[in-house]
Every structure is written in structure tokens, then in C-alpha cells.
């Protein structure tokens, strides 16, 4: 790491990314392999290599743009960028950290509404039953997004093939799961 010493000091966000996801943004030398391999780079507002560059500048306005970007939400965490990075920069882990910071600071990109609604519906199912209840997930997601008509043909076709449980599978230790959710909640301080 001594070769990194000539770089300017990390910003607050840069330090957070180093501490929480072992990513030192200054190590990126902009080869662009992450962007070349990223399956959704074309759907992002800033492709992964540009996100790295924006963070490297330490410019607060650019850091803010990263936190408010659609990129961090549409990222699939497919791990291709990390696999191909010559500097072994764990971009997917960094994306997790950026997403959580954006949520915490209420800086979520508006286009990411549906993606986040899906995650929330998914987590709610686990919170209350311990497992994913797929019909509950669909219904909850539709209620959150008002995308009532999407995938309407899918559920009956899945039911016909025995691919959906009508009732949720409830685990016994639901209070234990509820407690895990409570203790890991960002609002919870202990």
C-alpha cells in the first residue's frame, strides 16, 4: 500500500468506503474493464469506472451525484467488475455501502423506486414469516408500486405448475427473526 501514499488524503466518503468495504478509491487507474464487463453499464447514469473516477476526485458535488445516482441501484452485484479488476477493487461491496448511505441520507434516485420497493417487500416477508412468501411478495410489491397489471399472467401459470405456495411457510422462531431485524435496524441504537 505504500505506493498509494502520494495520493491525496481520502475524503470522509472515501474513508468510509475504505473502512466499510475495503475499497480505496484512489487505487483505480481507470482501465475501464469494469465498465466493459458490466452487463447493465448502458442502463446506468454513470458506468462503474466513471463512478470510481468521480469518487477519486474527492469533489463533494461529484460524491453527491454518486449517492444520488441510478447506477448504485441498478447494479446487479453480479461481481463481474470485481472479477476482472486488475487492482482487485471490490466494487460490488462498495456499491452495497453506497446504497446504504443513500438510503440513510434519503438521497435515493427516483428511478430506483421500483427496485427498492421490491427489496422492501422481500425483506418484509422474511421479517414476518422467516422465509420468502412469494405470493405475499408479489401482492406487497404491487401495493407499493401500483404496478397492478404487470405479470398478471405469471401467477396463475406458476400456480398451475405447483410453483407457488398459497400459504406462507412460517418458521417456529419468528420472534428470533423479528429480534434480528430490530437489532440490525439503522434506527436501533444499542
Amino acid at each position: 500500500m505504500s505506493s498509494d501514499n502520494h495520493h491525496s488524503a481520502l475524503t470522509e466518503l472515501g474513508t468510509e468506503l475504505l473502512e466499510q468495504s475495503d475499497v480505496k478509491v484512489t487505487r483505480c487507474y481507470q482501465c475501464g474493464k469494469c465498465t466493459a464487463g458490466c452487463p447493465l453499464a448502458l442502463e446506468m447514469d454513470y458506468p462503474p469506472s466513471m463512478v470510481m473516477r468521480m469518487l477519486q476526485t474527492g469533489n463533494p458535488a461529484l460524491e453527491e451525484k454518486v449517492l444520488r445516482s441510478f447506477t448504485i441501484w441498478v447494479c446487479l452485484t453480479c461481481e463481474m467488475c470485481f472479477a476482472r479488476c486488475p487492482m482487485s477493487i471490490d466494487i460490488p461491496k462498495m456499491m452495497d455501502q453506497l446504497r446504504q448511505k443513500a438510503l440513510l441520507e434519503k438521497k435515493v434516485n427516483r428511478k430506483a423506486k421500483e427496485i427498492i420497493a421490491f427489496h422492501k417487500s422481500f425483506l418484509d416477508s422474511i421479517r414476518y414469516t422467516g422465509r420468502l412468501y412469494e405470493i405475499g411478495l408479489f401482492v406487497d410489491y404491487k401495493a407499493r408500486t401500483l404496478k397492478i397489471l404487470d405479470d398478471m399472467a405469471l401467477a396463475p401459470a406458476m400456480l398451475k405448475r405447483g410453483k407457488l405456495n398459497i400459504f406462507p411457510e412460517m418458521i417456529k422462531d419468528r420472534s428470533g427473526i423479528a429480534s434480528i431485524f430490530r437489532k440490525t435496524s439503522k434506527k436501533h441504537k444499542d
Binding site: H119, S125, I126, G162, I171, F181, K183
Partner: protein, 280 residues
């Protein structure tokens, strides 16, 4: 020895044929399998996108339950669950403070002593060495083995196969009588968890995968992940719309193809549950 089993949520619902085929193949080789009792969801993409601590606590609870049940080795057929469990084990092993914190959150002791096997590792350890002579109906098809993302990446943590052009599933299918093809989309992402929230993106990514398999003459696509299967099979309408043609190449779990090769019944392997008809 008893092999522990973590099915995960998909294998109890939309991908139950994966569980059916895993258990049918294990039974055919007299492998004792024991499900982890009262297991919970691993948290999947939702947890690690939204809350890191939760994304470690949920898999740690599963591993603690396995330890308590006396299981020293578990098979996790879902590639996404396999990834979450393995990453959690890796992160907690590297950070004792985090490990203590997660044990405290879960109210359960966590040792980190369980060996986690993905489906290919399980098959290679317990079945492949005994496969010769058992293949009564060779799976005589050109197959595109599709590994997806989370079975092979990140290599630093999973240490399984190669992250570009992996071979383990190809070798297994070769032994089952198939002809694995060379193709370009072995480890490209299908779109995974965006299936519901950004269906058109999934139609495109999965379309590229199915399109390449077709162009190179595949007669079946073989997978080892319920999300890959859901997207390539249940999203075939969107895939065909993207490709602008009707492609009817079936998608089989590796355990279904293997099950057929050793003479198991199509229904026992859940092949009747697919959207794209399996005519093999």
C-alpha cells in the same frame, strides 16, 4: 455421514423441482440428507443491498442452526444462497469483532465450523466417483452449461472452479453422456433479482444468453441456480420478444439432467413444472 441440506426459499416454492431433483438424485445414490431445522431465508440480494448487518446475521443464523444440529457439512443448491452463506462465513472468520456482534444480534453461538458445498461440489464429492455404470440413459444432447454469477464469483472467497470459462459442470455433463458446447455466456448475469422490478432488463440479459446458446447449437441449457432458471425459463416470453423469434430450448437443472441420465422418472425430477417444455 449425514449431509446437511439448506434448500432456501426458492426451492420450497417457485423452484421446487430443483429440490425434487436434488433429493431424487441423492436418494438414488443412498446419500443421507437432513434438512436444517427451522431455517430462515438467507436475505438474498435485498438484505445485502439494504442492510449489511442484516445480510450477515440471517446467513449466520442458518449456519448456527446447522452447527447446533451437529451437521459438519451442508449442501446449498441455490447459487445465491450458497454465495450469501459462504460470504458470511468468510467475513465473520476475518473479523472477530463482527463475529461477536453477529452472535449477539442472533442470540446464538456461531462457530463457523460448517463446510458449505454448492451443488457441483456435492455431486463431485459424492456422486461423480460412483457414476460410471449408473448412466443407463445418456443425456445425449448438445448442452450449454450456464454457471451464472454467484456460483463462481467472487473467486477470492468461493475458491471454486474458474471465474472465466469454468469447467466443472461441463465435465459432469460429459460424464452424463452430454456434449457440452463452447459458448460465450457461461458466466454472464441473467438479470437475477431485477426480474420483477425491471423485467425488460432481464429480458435483454437473459435473451443474450439464450440467443448465444441457440446460435451455437445447444439443445438444452443446464443451470445450477433457481434465479438463473426462473429467468431463462419463466421469462421466455420476454426473452423471445427481445430475440424477435421463438426459441424453445429447454432449461434443466444439473440434477434434472443427471437424474434423467441415471434413469429417474421425469415427474420425479419435476420436469413437468417448467414453462419451456422439456422434450428430452
Amino acid at each position: 455421514m449425514t449431509l446437511g441440506f439448506y434448500p432456501g426459499c426458492s426451492l420450497k416454492g417457485s423452484s421446487r423441482e430443483y429440490a425434487e431433483s436434488v433429493l431424487a438424485v441423492a436418494k438414488a445414490f443412498d446419500i443421507a440428507i437432513e434438512e436444517i431445522q427451522d431455517w430462515n431465508c438467507c436475505g438474498a440480494t435485498a438484505a445485502h443491498n439494504m442492510n449489511r448487518e442484516l445480510s450477515l446475521a440471517l446467513p449466520a443464523r442458518i449456519l448456527s442452526l446447522a452447527e447446533k444440529q451437529g451437521l459438519s457439512e451442508i449442501v446449498v443448491p441455490c447459487a445465491a444462497c450458497y454465495s450469501r452463506l459462504t460470504v458470511t462465513q468468510h467475513e465473520l472468520a476475518a473479523d472477530q469483532t463482527l463475529k461477536a456482534r453477529i452472535s449477539e444480534v442472533n442470540g446464538m453461538e456461531y462457530k463457523g465450523s460448517v463446510t458449505i458445498l454448492n451443488i457441483i461440489q456435492m455431486l463431485d464429492k459424492y456422486i461423480t466417483p460412483r457414476l460410471e455404470g449408473k448412466v443407463v440413459k445418456p443425456f445425449n444432447k448438445k448442452v450449454a452449461c450456464y454457471y451464472g454469477c454467484l456460483l463462481v464469483r467472487p473467486h477470492e472467497i468461493l475458491k471454486f472452479d474458474r471465474e472465466e470459462d469454468p469447467q466443472s459442470m461441463d465435465e459432469l455433463m460429459l460424464k452424463a453422456g452430454a456434449t457440452p458446447i463452447d459458448w460465450a455466456f457461461k458466466t454472464e448475469c441473467c438479470g437475477a433479482g431485477l426480474s420483477v422490478s425491471r423485467t425488460h432488463s432481464v429480458g435483454k440479459l437473459s435473451g443474450l444468453i439464450v440467443g448465444d446458446a441457440k446460435d451455437r447449437g445447444a439443445e438444452a441449457i443446464i443451470v445450477a441456480c433457481p434465479m438463473c432458471h426462473s429467468n431463462l425459463d419463466m421469462r421466455r416470453k420476454e426473452i423471445n420478444e427481445y430475440l424477435g423469434e421463438k426459441v424453445d430450448i429447454p432449461v434443466l437443472y444439473v440434477t434434472q439432467a443427471l437424474g434423467l441420465a441415471i434413469g429417474l422418472d421425469k415427474k420425479e425430477l419435476g420436469l413437468n413444472r417448467h414453462f419451456v417444455k422439456v422434450t428430452v
